[in-house]
Every structure is written in structure tokens, then in C-alpha cells.
Point group: C2
Chain length 275, copies 2
Amino acid sequence: MEFAEATAVTPDPSTPGTYRGAVAPGWDIAGNANGGYLLSIAARAMTHASGRPDPVTLTAHYLSPGKPGPLRIETELVKAGKRFGAVRALMRGPEGEDKAVLAVLGTFGDLDPSASADSPTSMHSPPPDLPPLEECVPMRRVAMSDESGPPDFMHNIHLALHPDDAGFMAGERSGIARMRGWFSLRHDQTIDTIGLLTAVDSFPPTIFNLGLPVGWVPTVELTAHVRARPAPGALRCAFTTRFVTGGFLEEDGEVWDSTGTLVAQSRQLALLPRA
Amino acid sequence: MEFAEATAVTPDPSTPGTYRGAVAPGWDIAGNANGGYLLSIAARAMTHASGRPDPVTLTAHYLSPGKPGPLRIETELVKAGKRFGAVRALMRGPEGEDKAVLAVLGTFGDLDPSASADSPTSMHSPPPDLPPLEECVPMRRVAMSDESGPPDFMHNIHLALHPDDAGFMAGERSGIARMRGWFSLRHDQTIDTIGLLTAVDSFPPTIFNLGLPVGWVPTVELTAHVRARPAPGALRCAFTTRFVTGGFLEEDGEVWDSTGTLVAQSRQLALLPRA
């Protein structure tokens, strides 16, 4: 199933502002949905509710795991301005259980490049330094550790890690809390601004490269700023952590497209695995 | 009026989950409230609604200016977990008009240091390099440009800027999109975790140090992660911008306390002033 279909939502005609979607078959990871993928589904509904084409800034708070199956997204337009619309949403599922999975707050607008063609640009940091895709280390083989299981989320995306950051897969950690690599969708499907929301949460945790306990790193909150619509091609991504304190860590992400344009920034607050 | 009083809220007994507060007299800036101060008021209500002592991560989307006078904050507890509670809120005001000012989403918890005393720490970036407070440049005189007006927000806080970043006040811009300095409340009032939310939005925009048009830099969205309760004393702050593109810029903040502990991180998405 393509990404667009796997994140599709339909308005529920009986309840204005409510949408139906699903964690699609084969898009979970061992029974749980990736946080960025869940956010993409919510963003489809919220973008529609906003009446604008693109997410500009979105924040999700992760309330409970997203299980495969139907989801309901309740949206509320809290501001309809001239340039932007603000929407808040609650994603619930699986249906019947009605458990809150995700709370999201977002501002939506139009990122058509012609609208900002005259806007001054000032860049104080270069794109991530990455070898060509074919010299990077594919991630899939590790995430697919249970080769006998059905194809899952990691079968639908393609990650290729910077060789300097990929050693953790062989137990050789770089000591730098960083993950850099290329992100693309299977069969090089086009990545839209909603696809960027999946990209910012798809890489292995930065701290896998530190001498800390390795385990599940639950996201408390993820914020993504979408800066531009990506050009076709794999995305150049980098994630770094500067501060691990008090059981928390931040993970800062940058996503650049194939033309060298910054297309998204992200930051998440996550929990350190318990020792 | 002290900060605690200027951000106080009271539950509205007639409507569960709703709180009353105000942009207090003398806490506006020429008729508008500072975005961080508004977030502090909302956070008081949300913290109460969560039943937890501290904000952990909070995101506000700015919908319309906060004017002096009464505010209403409608909260909804979307998750009450073992360790955290998640709350969303809408701030409206002034009363009567009922205009949405702020939409907020937050996760709350207990940042008592004893709870995380055994947690591993890994710091990959030093605190901001700042001269002692008395060698920094007080901000107040510039913000109080209308000396004949009544005392305002900038009278209630004290900012002292790094001399290298303060030249913009005399028309000498550093060329680096950065603002570093000390933050304190007037009369050295104690700063709690809610006070940190004011600190992260009180400094002049980073881009005042670039060769870009200077003007109002409206915040679209502000996210703050609170990492620890601050120790008494002035806060060491740094704000930087790396990417000005498409009419947007991010501003990343760090706040450290007098003992050298990272107490907050922030990021906001703001709009470039129109040329």
C-alpha cells in the first residue's frame, strides 16, 4: 500500500469535523504504529479541516500506542485567519475502545514557493554531511529482525544511515548522539509535506550511539516545522541530542530535500530507557 | 505586582475545567501581552487541571494578541497517566469578546529532582558563555523607549544582554542571529517552572542582529521543554536562529540556572517582518 493510501482519511458525514482513518495493514511495527506515521494520519485530517494545503507547525503529544486498525480523528478549527488556520485534534482508536492515542495542535497554510519567492533567506548552518545514498548503510535489515513476520513499516520506508552513525547495529557506538541518513518511501513515492512528518520520526534513536542503556525511547512530544514542499528524491536527514538529563532527552531533526532546501525541522522530547 | 500574582488563575466553579485569569495591569507591552507571559498564565491553569506540579512540555499557537484585562482559560484533561498528565487549553479574552488568544497543548509531571537522581546524564553542549551580570548590557532602557508611559512588562523583568549581542540597540548588528543574556524577575523574585515559560520569550528577536528588516516578529508557535526546577538566581539564556527561509525563522532557546543546570529548552516558529 502506498503512503498516500496508508495515511488517507475520510470525513465522517454524521459528525462534522470528525474523520476516519486507520493504521493500515503492514504499516505497524510489531503491533504498534510509528509516531511520525500516526502524526501524518492526523495531519491529513487537520489539513482538510483547516482548508489549507500544508502543515506549517504541528505538535503531537503521545498518549497511548497506536494499534493496527481503524482510528477516529476529532478536529476543531480554533482559528481561521487570512494566512493561517489553527486546528486541534484528538486521535482515538481502535474504534470501540475509544482510547486517546494522540493529541495534536497545528497551524496550516500554503507553502507554495511562489508566495515567498521574494523573502530574504539567511542560512547559518549547512545541510547534513552525508555520503551518497549507495555508500550509506541500509537500515531495513536490522529493523526487520523477525524476518519470519509479515512485512511492516520498515518495509514501506527506506533508511540509509551515514556509515559513521551506523556502527551501533554491530554494537560499535560512535559516542556521538547523532543519526544521519537518507529517507525515502518505498518505490520512491513522492513525499509531500505530510510525508515529512513521518520522516522526522523514522530514524533509530540518537542515543543508540551513546553508552546508555538501549531500549524503547518513548516520545512524549514531537514538534515539526515544515519549511517547504520537498522536491522529488531521497531526503537528507540528521538528528542530534545535546542534553540527556533527568530521564529526558531532546532529539533535534533537520530534513533537506534533493535540491539542498531545508524542508523541515523537528524536535522531540523523549524518555530515556529505564536501566 | 509580583509574577505569581500576575499569572494567577482561579477555577470558575460554574464551569468545570475553566479558569479565570488576567493580563495584569502593568504586565502588557504597549497594550499587548508578551507571548511567554500569556503562556505562563495558561500553564498555571493547565498545571492545576493536570493535578501535577510542573509543566514538562508545552506548545502554544498564537491566535490573536492578548490585551490587558480578564481572560478565560478552558482546559481539558486528555490523559491522566501514572507519570504524566496531558492537558489542552484555549485561552479567550477579553471577556465579552470571547476571542481565542492562545491554543495550548501540554504534558505535566513532577520535576522533583529526587525522582531522577539516579538517571544518567549526558551533556554535549556547554552553558552559554556569558560575562557576569554586571558586565552585561541592561535591556530595559530600550524597551522603555516611551519613558513617559506607564510602567509595563519590561519594568517587571530584568534582561542583561551579552555585550557582543547588544550592539543592535545602537544600530551595530553583530551579523550573528543570536541573543544571549541574563533573565530575572524584578526584585529577584523566585522563578518557578512556570516562570521559565516567560523567560523563553522575553529576549529581543535574534534577527535584530542580522541585516534584515527590523520589526515585529510574530510568534506562530512556541514550544518549551522544562527540564528542571530552577535554583534561585538569574537565569543564563541563549537564543539562536539558524534558518531564515520562506518568510519563517526558528528561534532556539536554552535556559540554565545559577548552579549550571539546564532548566529549559525552547523553540519557536516566527514570521519574518515584512520588508
